[in-house]
């Protein structure tokens, strides 16, 4: 149950008995998670174990089949708009328009989300500032991913930036240098009492976040717990 008491305030994100059904298959069930502010949760598991589905449920993109999700002790169902406002979501695809430049792509999302439209520092954070005026169609897969991740940096520099980062295999396609940039961005978010939930298949990002992260492994049978 989502409940805050005076003796022990519940902070950050918690889930209780969370379940998800896709088609007629239970992707996961009975999932209890607790991620405190300033901490990351690294999700691992085999393909099809439900990492992406879990992130989509936590973002509000998929309905939960059972259980509840709480933020700061309050169920998110009470105010889904407020929950969407606190979420920064990075999915598998890079939501970039090929005919728009890097700056235009990033500025569009920043303005739509009410974030600081001064996007140069965000581009700089992922070392793509020199590509600001280049249409995204000329980007490599890794550069596209960097540009997508720069959305996180843009949000980070805004007072109204999202507190809950849900990142679905964010390091895919990145070189080691860019993985370090991503890790630094996530660590900076955690230092501001943010929460990050990151699905990974191991690797350098896990190592860099290790001291600030808890881990949960989803089984293909669909159960898992972490705190």
């Amino acid at each position: 149950m989502c409940r805050t008491t005076k003796r022990r305030p519940v902070q950050g994100l918690t889930t209780h008995n969370l379940g998800c059904i896709r088609g007629e298959r239970a992707v996961f069930a009975g999932l209890d998670l607790a991620v405190k502010p300033g901490r990351a949760l690294l999700l691992s598991g085999a393909n099809g174990s439900g990492k992406s589905s879990l992130l989509r449920v936590l973002a509000g993109l998929l309905p939960a089949a059972s259980g509840e999700i709480c933020w700061e002790g309050e169920t998110i169902e009470g105010d889904p708009d407020a929950h969407r406002a606190r979420v920064a979501y990075i999915g598998h695809a890079d939501p970039l328009k090929p005919s728009m430049t890097a700056a235009e792509n990033l500025r569009f999302w920043a303005r739509l989300y009410g974030l600081d439209p001064a996007i140069e520092p965000a581009l700089y954070q992922f070392s793509i500032e020199h590509l600001a005026d280049v249409p995204a169609r000329y980007f490599s897969a890794g550069q596209k991913r960097r540009l997508n991740l720069a959305r996180l940096a843009a949000g980070q520099k805004s007072p109204a930036g999202p507190a809950l980062w849900l990142l679905d295999e964010p390091a895919t396609g990145l070189d080691p240098g860019a993985v370090s940039m991503l890790a630094n961005t996530i660590l900076a978010h955690l230092s501001q009492e943010g929460v990050a939930i990151v699905s990974t298949h191991g690797g350098r990002l896990d190592e860099l976040l290790d001291s600030h992260a808890d881990r949960v492994t989803l089984q293909t049978t669909g159960n898992g717990t972490a705190s």
């Binding site: 993109l61 406002a85 979501y89 970039l96 728009m100 739509l112």
Partner: protein, 221 residues
């Protein structure tokens, strides 16, 4: 409101930079309308009688050409997820997409229609009816078409399905749009037809974004 304007501006920029859809729709509109006289003959008394109906049927088909892509690119590249999570919401997105579709397709059809009216030897008195009926009717095509585009998002053979879903819903617009032009050609009052088209437009503005948003939510989930 800012979100709506941002979305419309982005859609127009994308259409101007990469889109051949709008140009193709107008070329199709003109070519298809030109084909009819080859099939039915060029009797100068018959053409004005059938011209209004033909122009409306062809406009309706031309507007459908680019509907399938209305949400497809955003669905494929993950933008739709972010648009759903954004403060603007799916209803505003649906309205913005429909308005952008109308600006890039409907307006061009509206501009090209008088040229076809000359081809079909429509009397000068029917030009006003043609333009006003298309001004009221083509936004309805975009708004209602958005519902079909959202419902068929991600479906195999979505284009065919879209046509099957949407064409029946276009029939009332066709009847009253063509009826207004026929009325003007015959010298009858056209106010009732235009008022009904205006009613369709108001109803579509109120209901279509809501229905489209519901269909988009299904596609996201």
């Amino acid at each position: 409101m800012i979100g709506l304007l941002l979305l419309i501006r982005r859609e127009l920029a994308l259409a101007l930079r990469g889109g051949t859809d709008a140009v193709m729709a107008v070329v199709f509109f003109v070519l298809a309308a030109i084909l009819f006289p080859f099939g039915v003959g060029t009797d100068p008394e018959m053409l004005p009688r059938i011209g209004g109906g033909i122009i409306w049927v062809v406009a309706l088909l031309a507007a459908m050409l680019s509907l399938e892509r209305m949400f497809a690119a955003d669905h494929e590249d993950g933008s739709l997820d972010l648009l759903y999570l954004s403060p603007v919401g799916l209803g505003t997105l649906a309205l913005a997409k429909a308005l952008a579709h109308w600006l890039t397709t409907g307006v061009l059809l509206l501009v090209a229609a008088p040229v076809l009216a000359l081809l079909y030897n429509l009397p000068a008195s029917a030009f006003g009816a043609l333009v006003i009926s298309m001004l009221l009717g083509t936004p309805v095509l975009s708004l209602v078409g958005g519902i079909g585009a959202a419902l068929t998002l991600g479906a195999r053979r979505g284009g065919v399905l879209l046509a099957l879903l949407i064409l029946p819903l276009y029939i009332p617009v066709l009847i009253f749009g063509a009826g207004a032009i026929d009325g003007a050609v015959a010298g009858r009052p056209i106010g009732p037809q235009l008022m009904v088209l205006g009613g369709f437009l108001l109803a579509a503005l109120a209901l279509a974004p809501w229905a489209t948003a519901a269909a988009l939510r299904q596609a996201i989930e």
